[in-house]
Amino acid sequence: MKSAAFEYARASSLDEVCDWLRKDGDDAKLIAGGQSLVPMMAMRLTRPARLININEIDALKFITVEKDHARTGACTRQCVIARDGALANAVPLLKQALEWVGHVQTRNRGTVGGSLVHADPAAEMPLVAQILGAQMVLRSHTGTRTVAAAEFFEGPLTTATRADECLEEIRWPRWSEKRMGSAFTEISRRHGDFALVAAAAQIAVDENGSCTRVNFGLAGGGYIPMAFPKLAARLVGSKLEDDIVESVVNDAATEFDPGGDLHASPDYRRQLAAVLTTRMLRAAYENASNCK
């Protein structure tokens, strides 16, 4: 047995989870898909005293598409989210990003909520949450609160979730523009690995092809996945002419300030950041322009 010993409990409701977390939230860890947590436990990078299984709580598994946003339950599996047609229409970036997450076997088990709470700086779902400005609904014994992505991600593997809180659902804002497009890509050593650098963009255009709303972001090698709303705002009104894109993208790569490791130096990551962001801006623009 590779993991350190722990006590185990299977929760049947969110109330039960909150009650247990109130009693010993500091020593307990929630397990959803477990596709990141279990490897960390196997390597003993983490040794929770108590594991609370939330996989059997049906109330945490749902997808609903509403006027202003789509809502997904925290324990909805990645494979379920990836194949939901209505969700793909409402928030296309989610499905585009999930194609880069792990493999068939890990997506069958992994949850989008788990990816967000785990908050790996190179993971795809936190980047999507940052770009769209997703809202995380956190539940504890005292009630619920909603935290925006910009405040949710605090650092590598660190979020604003308190020890007595459980992620209940995620709200993904919808862009209501008629001509809207998005795109996601990444470079990793093998497909399915964490990204050396990931880039994504979402753009709305008017009937003349001028951008009316833009956001984009980067992950991998950084401290947390980042969106660049201020830089993106400079592209509003443009048709993504070469000079303005180059200027914005270079500023983003500098602000991203990636670190280096065995796999990629900071310079290489900065270059990837600029190249991939340019490609994704252009791809999102093209997808937006092709909307009828």
Binding site: M1, K2, A4, A5, Y8, Q35, V38, V104, T106, R109
Partner: protein, 161 residues
């Protein structure tokens, strides 16, 4: 003495139950408690895919689940792919025919991943096959013959219908 927890799972159609430590992985439970050693243990942290099994019909990594989490669920291992008479399944025979294995270590995981594909997509494209086995590492074949084997099996299964 470490605390034990009850597990009751349907494995290859048969109900199996035991008392196990919470930290016992599903693959160790299958191999060491149930002696179903067809499922292989590779990296033990979710990279290689050798331990793939089906959980309620979907392929998952059995090293990334604790046996207690599978309580009440249905597991299919590579042993469960063979017909009752003990002969090879169409997919297994196609792996032999197309030289889809050499050392055989990755094979149980490859068979589970590709059988799950064929169950959902009877006539898969090469891209779909490569995507389905994308989470399974093979150090011998270079994957070419594995893809050929899955294609061969898809054709044979279509003929049987």
């Amino acid at each position: 003495m470490e605390k034990l927890y009850p597990v009751a799972i349907e494995v290859n159609g048969k109900p199996r139950s035991a008392q196990v430590p919470a930290r016992l992985s599903l693959v160790d439970f299958l191999r060491e408690e149930l002696r179903l050693t067809g499922t292989h243990v590779g990296c033990e942290h979710g990279i290689c895919g050798a331990c793939s099994v089906m959980l309620d019909g979907d392929p998952v990594r059995s090293c990334l689940m604790f046996a207690v989490q599978a309580d009440g669920h249905r597991i299919t291992t590579v042993e469960g792919l063979t017909p009752a008479d003990g002969t090879l399944s169409v997919l297994q025979d196609s792996f032999c025919e197309a030289h889809g294995l050499q050392c055989g270590y990755c094979t149980p995981g490859m068979l589970i991943a590709s059988q799950a594909l064929l169950n959902a997509t009877p006539n898969p494209s090469e891209e779909q096959i490569r995507d389905a086995i994308g989470g399974n590492l093979c150090r011998c074949t270079g994957y070419r013959q594995i893809v050929d084997a899955v294609k061969l099996a898809a054709g044979r299964l279509a003929e049987q219908k």
